[in-house]
C-alpha cells in the first residue's frame, strides 16, 4: 500500500506502537510522529492500544482500514496481553465511527462490524498483497526436503487459539489411517501464542503425531512459496478470520482448499474450494483423500479457485484503493 501511495505522488510514512525487529528500517514509533494539518491518517485497525487513544485525540482526517479484532474469548488463557488488546479493540471501535471519513473493511463480514458500530461511510476492499510471493524462486533446500513423495497438508497462519490448529491435528490423526505417509505443516509465527503453542506440541505428542507435524515458525517468502508448491491440500479449520489471506494464496498456487465455514471464510472462497459446516474428522479425512487421489475432482476445484483469485488481483485492488483515496483526499 505504501508503495502504491508513493507511486501516486503522495508522501507516506508508517508509524506504529511496537515495531518488529525486521521492520525497523521502514517503520517509526508513533511517538515520533509530528502531526501536520494536511495529513491524512490511514489507521490499520486490528487491536486496541494506546495508539487508538492517541489517534482519537488528533484532528487530522482519518481513514480506517479494518482487519477485524479477534473476539477476546478465544485468547483467554493463551495471551493476557493480546486478550486485553482485543477487548479494548472491540470496545473502542464505535468511538471511531464519527471520527472517520471512510472505513474500509477487508471483507463483507468485517464490514458488518463497522455498520454495527455506527460507521456512516464503509466499503469493502480485500487485502492487497504484493505479487512477490507468486514470482519468487522457492527455497530449493526446503523444496527438495518436502518433495519426498509424502502427502503434505498445509495450514498458514500464526499459532493462535482462534485458528484451532488442534483440529488440524485431529484431522491428520484420521487421515493418516488412510495415508500413513501424510504430515502436516503449520506455517506461521508463534509470537504471542503463549501457552497455546505448548498445548499443541503436547497434544501432538500424546496422540503420537509429534514426528508428523512440523511447526515452521516464521518463514521467508521463498520458504513460504516452497510450502505452497509442495502441498497437496490446504486445510483451514479456523473459527475466526477477518479475511484469510492464505486462502487467496492457495488459490494462486493452485492448491485445493478445504475450509470450515466460519466468519469471513465463505465470503473469501466465494463458492469455490470445499466448505464444511461441521468438523467431522473422518469426513474431512475422506475429502482430503479424494482431493489427493481423484485428479478430475482436484482439477475442477482448482479451476474454480483460479477463477475466484481474479477478484483479488493486486492491480484491480490497487485501482479500487486509489479511487477510495482520491475520494477521501478531495472530500
Amino acid at each position: 500500500m505504501q508503495q502504491a501511495l508513493r507511486s501516486w505522488g503522495l508522501r507516506s510514512d508508517i508509524f506504529a506502537e511496537r515495531i518488529h525487529p525486521g521492520l525497523q528500517k521502514d517503520v517509526v514509533l508513533y511517538s515520533q510522529y509530528h502531526p501536520q494539518a494536511e495529513d491524512v491518517l490511514l489507521f490499520h485497525y486490528s487491536l486496541g492500544s494506546a495508539l487508538s487513544d492517541y489517534l482519537l485525540a488528533l484532528p487530522q482526517k482519518l481513514l480506517l482500514r479494518y482487519h477485524n479484532v479477534t473476539p477476546p474469548h478465544f485468547l483467554v488463557g493463551a495471551n493476557p496481553w493480546l486478550r486485553t488488546g482485543a477487548a479494548k479493540g472491540r470496545h473502542d471501535l464505535p468511538l471511531f465511527a464519527n471520527r472517520t471519513a471512510l472505513a474500509l473493511a477487508d471483507s463483507s463480514f468485517n464490514e458488518q462490524d463497522l455498520v454495527a458500530a455506527g460507521f456512516p461511510q464503509t466499503a469493502v476492499l480485500p487485502l492487497v498483497q504484493p505479487d512477490e510471493l507468486f514470482h519468487i524462486q522457492p527455497d530449493s533446500a526446503l523444496l527438495n526436503q518436502l518433495s519426498d513423495g509424502r502427502t503434505n497438508l498445509l495450514f498458514v497462519g500464526r499459532i493462535a487459539p482462534n485458528k484451532r490448529q488442534e483440529d488440524l491435528l485431529k484431522t491428520l490423526y484420521f487421515y493418516r489411517q488412510i495415508d500413513p505417509t501424510a504430515r502436516l505443516h503449520l506455517v506461521g509465527s508463534e509470537d504471542g501464542a503463549g501457552g497455546y503453542g505448548r498445548f499443541l506440541r503436547t497434544f501432538a505428542q500424546e496422540v503420537g503425531l509429534e514426528a508428523q507435524v512440523q511447526f515452521s515458525g516464521q518463514v521467508s517468502l521463498a520458504q513460504l512459496a516452497a510450502y505452497y508448491r509442495t502441498a497437496s491440500v490446504y486445510i483451514c479449520l479456523s473459527e475466526h478470520e477477518g479475511f484469510c489471506q492464505p486462502l487467496v494464496e492457495s488459490m494462486r498456487f493452485e492448491l485445493p482448499i478445504i475450509a470450515y465455514a466460519s466468519t469471513a471464510v465463505p465470503g473469501t472462497l466465494g463458492g469455490t474450494g470445499i466448505l464444511i459446516q461441521q468438523k467431522h474428522y473422518p469426513v474431512l479425512a475422506e475429502l482430503i483423500h479424494l482431493l489427493v487421489t481423484d485428479r478430475a475432482m482436484r482439477e475442477s476445484i482448482i479451476a474454480g479457485q483460479t477463477e475466484r483469485a481474479a477478484a483479488f488481483a493486486t492491480d484491480k485492488l490497487l485501482a479500487e484503493f486509489e479511487g477510495w483515496m482520491t475520494a477521501v483526499l478531495n472530500n
Binding site: S31, P80, R198, G273, I276, V283, E286
Partner: protein
C-alpha cells in the same frame, strides 16, 4: 450425519451427489479407530484416575493451569525516548510502585482462591465422569 448439509462445493463444476456417494462408500469400508470422536485423555487428578477428558476440556484445563498464579503486576510506564519523557517516568515510578504494591497484595489472595477453584473443578469433572455406584435397595 447429513453429508449434503455438511459439505458445500461448487456444483457447477462437480457432481455433488457422486462425491457424497463416494465419501459414504469410503466411510463404510474404512474402519476408523475412532469413528465419531477424537481420543480422550486420562484425567490425573486427586487420585481419581480412570476418568477421561475430551480434547477440548483437557485444553481448557491446561490453559487454566497455566493461568493460575499469574496475577502479578509490574509498574507500567510509557516508553521514554526523550530526556523529558525519561524524567517524567522517573517522577511517576514511585507512585506506580506504591499502587502495584497494594494491587499485588490483592492479587496474591485472588491467586489462592483461583487455585482452590481449579482443584474443585478438576475434582468435579472427575466425580461427574465416574460411573454411578450400584444401589443397595
Amino acid at each position: 450425519m447429513n453429508l449434503d448439509e455438511l459439505i458445500q462445493l461448487d456444483e457447477t463444476r462437480l457432481d455433488k451427489t457422486a462425491v457424497l456417494q463416494q465419501i459414504e462408500q469410503n466411510l463404510a469400508k474404512r474402519q476408523f479407530n475412532h469413528p465419531t470422536s477424537f481420543p480422550t485423555f486420562q484425567l490425573q487428578a486427586d487420585g481419581l484416575a480412570n476418568n477421561t477428558l475430551s480434547a477440548e476440556l483437557r485444553q481448557t484445563l491446561a490453559q487454566l493451569n497455566e493461568q493460575v498464579g499469574q496475577l502479578w503486576l509490574d509498574p507500567q510506564l510509557p516508553p521514554a525516548h526523550t530526556i523529558t519523557q525519561q524524567f517524567s517516568n522517573w517522577l511517576k515510578r514511585p507512585f506506580h510502585q506504591l499502587v502495584v504494591f497494594y494491587v499485588n497484595k490483592l492479587g496474591e489472595q485472588q491467586n489462592e482462591i483461583n487455585d482452590q477453584m481449579r482443584h474443585i473443578l478438576r475434582r468435579l469433572i472427575a466425580e461427574i465422569d465416574r460411573p454411578d455406584p450400584p444401589t443397595t435397595s
